[in-house]
Point group: C2
Chain length 414, copies 2
Amino acid sequence: MPQTFSTLRINPDRMLDAFNQLALIGTTGDGGVNRTTFSEAHLAARKWFREHIEASGLEFHTDGAGNHSARLTFEPANLPTLILGSHLDSVPKGGRFDGALGVMAALEVLKTVRENGIKLKVQLEAMDFTDEEGTHLSLFGSSAISGHLNPDDLKKPYSGRENFSAGLARAGLTEESLFTAKRKKESVAGYLELHIEQGKRLEKRGLNVGIVSAIVGYGSYRMAYIGQADHAGSAAMEDRLDAGQGVAAFILEARQTVMRDFQNCVANVGKIEFSPGASNIVPARADFLLEFRSPDEKQLNQLDAALMKLAREKAEQFGLQVTAEPLGKHTPNLMSAEIQDAFKAACDELGLSSVVLPSGAIHDAQSLVDICPVGMIFVPSVNGTSHSPFEYTEWQDCVNGANVLLQAALRLGL
Amino acid sequence: MPQTFSTLRINPDRMLDAFNQLALIGTTGDGGVNRTTFSEAHLAARKWFREHIEASGLEFHTDGAGNHSARLTFEPANLPTLILGSHLDSVPKGGRFDGALGVMAALEVLKTVRENGIKLKVQLEAMDFTDEEGTHLSLFGSSAISGHLNPDDLKKPYSGRENFSAGLARAGLTEESLFTAKRKKESVAGYLELHIEQGKRLEKRGLNVGIVSAIVGYGSYRMAYIGQADHAGSAAMEDRLDAGQGVAAFILEARQTVMRDFQNCVANVGKIEFSPGASNIVPARADFLLEFRSPDEKQLNQLDAALMKLAREKAEQFGLQVTAEPLGKHTPNLMSAEIQDAFKAACDELGLSSVVLPSGAIHDAQSLVDICPVGMIFVPSVNGTSHSPFEYTEWQDCVNGANVLLQAALRLGL
């Protein structure tokens, strides 16, 4: 690569200005953002993104799954596209870096290439994928692009059918339009994503950049323990069929099982509801969502089986029924060796320390592995905190990540 | 008591007809009712009750706390009132017997006395107390009558301030009007209540009637474990401050503590919510309601202390904060010996087997102990089930209870 290109850097102040504008949309007031997919704040962020793209002299594009992007195109028109991106949606009360940093860095790379008049052998596209966080369906924008979206997926969104349909309508989308977002394999040259680590590995080791080797696989279930409602004063403790006891034992022992037998894995119960739901009624039913992850496919299946076995054991122990409806399962996904090499070369060129590691979190990157080479980098998260308003990454680390993204894109696209 | 009165019986078919009409209002479709206080169904049930009273030739009365009643009055007008009653509100998805049986039986007693032209030395009143179940404030109608209602209670209703205010408005009440419902001690001769047992003691022993010796005291708290939100994929299990672990351990061990050290007591966690509340976020916060009961005041205080100690221990174990806001505490209440004797004599006269036992459930009866002698009887619940659509009492047991109520009222009022 010519020396003139290897010294190219993104404009940190311009990127910070855009990043800070975006962080105010749906702000929680304490550093975080509330931008669940198709919420008012999420749609406002996308409107801002579109206007910002158009004001930057880049081409705005959107598709039938609501993915929003900036394009920087070169002749001939049939050059394959190198996509850079992430997502502008957040979890409820999430942080301002998760997803947003990757989109803003991708956009900054396009601005930098454009203002330097660099001609590439690929089209560049800076993408905001729809609903990475799964307000409705995890990774559904990137799944639509890669052709992984299945009509059956639409029947059981996390948010429920009614909220999902209302959300699509607010975004001007339909269930039919989602399937038109699919891209042909030959049209995509690759996909690069910058993201905050959402863990402590880089911070603990004092490293600048993590080059992702693989993205963990995960499984999730909508589960319920079912017992019997009873008067919470007059029904004796030993006569109760208390659904709350089943789920409490499951939550405690699922953690113990993972920590004892599945040391590279995680599991979480993040949502729960008792029915009927009054202080003076023994819970007849405890509905909850279970999610678990592993970097290894075989281990993921073993963890799945162990958790389902535990769920049945706890039902038996407390005289309850248990149900478990699978919501999704993703196998672990390997990142492209070529792109990992490009990231490593970029880090070395920039004088940044790096390490190869798996990603414990799921990302849009994994949706794209079947249609193109995919690579991903992490920058450190302070205290490893994420999915929280207290999520924070030093701005210099954000700038480092954006420069690695730029340099890797140039290495792959020149 | 003259023989002519001791052979008097209520009209079982007339009571059944009224009971069945009422059970259709707010029906869950599977035998239960949804009549939370001030809901549309609850207000419809009260409208039906008013019309039914007026059609029966009894006098309808309501007060500033929304208590609804039928009155059968005698000369002179200043005779004290013997109140019979219970409540028409239900828990969410509750049963059709809880409360409703006591009100319909009370009404049937007044009809029977009226049609037999019996002259009593007390006024009779068949009462539907407001919000026994505590949609907003447990026992709030009977507390208003006895003068126990405190302006501070109104600041933290179970339903939240907004729902409480809206409910009062729907019922045509105001916070000021509630305090006008207070009755003078000299105006009340006594209070009798028939209720289903909501437990298995009568059924297990094959007995017809339970004569209540005391109503258990209870305490309740709005509690929360507070940890930190984190990404449920990338935060290692051992680094998490998962509020769900704290509440799960508390739910399990609270049950063990009660069963091991407080054998006549109960405890329940009937409502719970994780925040932020997504499958892929480690819960930062677990909000829940705790309730516990004991028939003995000293033991109630010991149980309270043991549960609070447990809550703090679990917080420490998982690195969490815990908060506990007291929602209310009622000391156990003793029933009148004179009224217990009247119930026993009535059972004997009717050839019904009976036993003296404490009530594990709270009831409006306990609100009234400071202003008049109070008594209460139970009839068997099939399987002990209550606060559930599957709650059921054989109709003959309901009739037995109503006849005991009638005979005791005659013994006390002639």
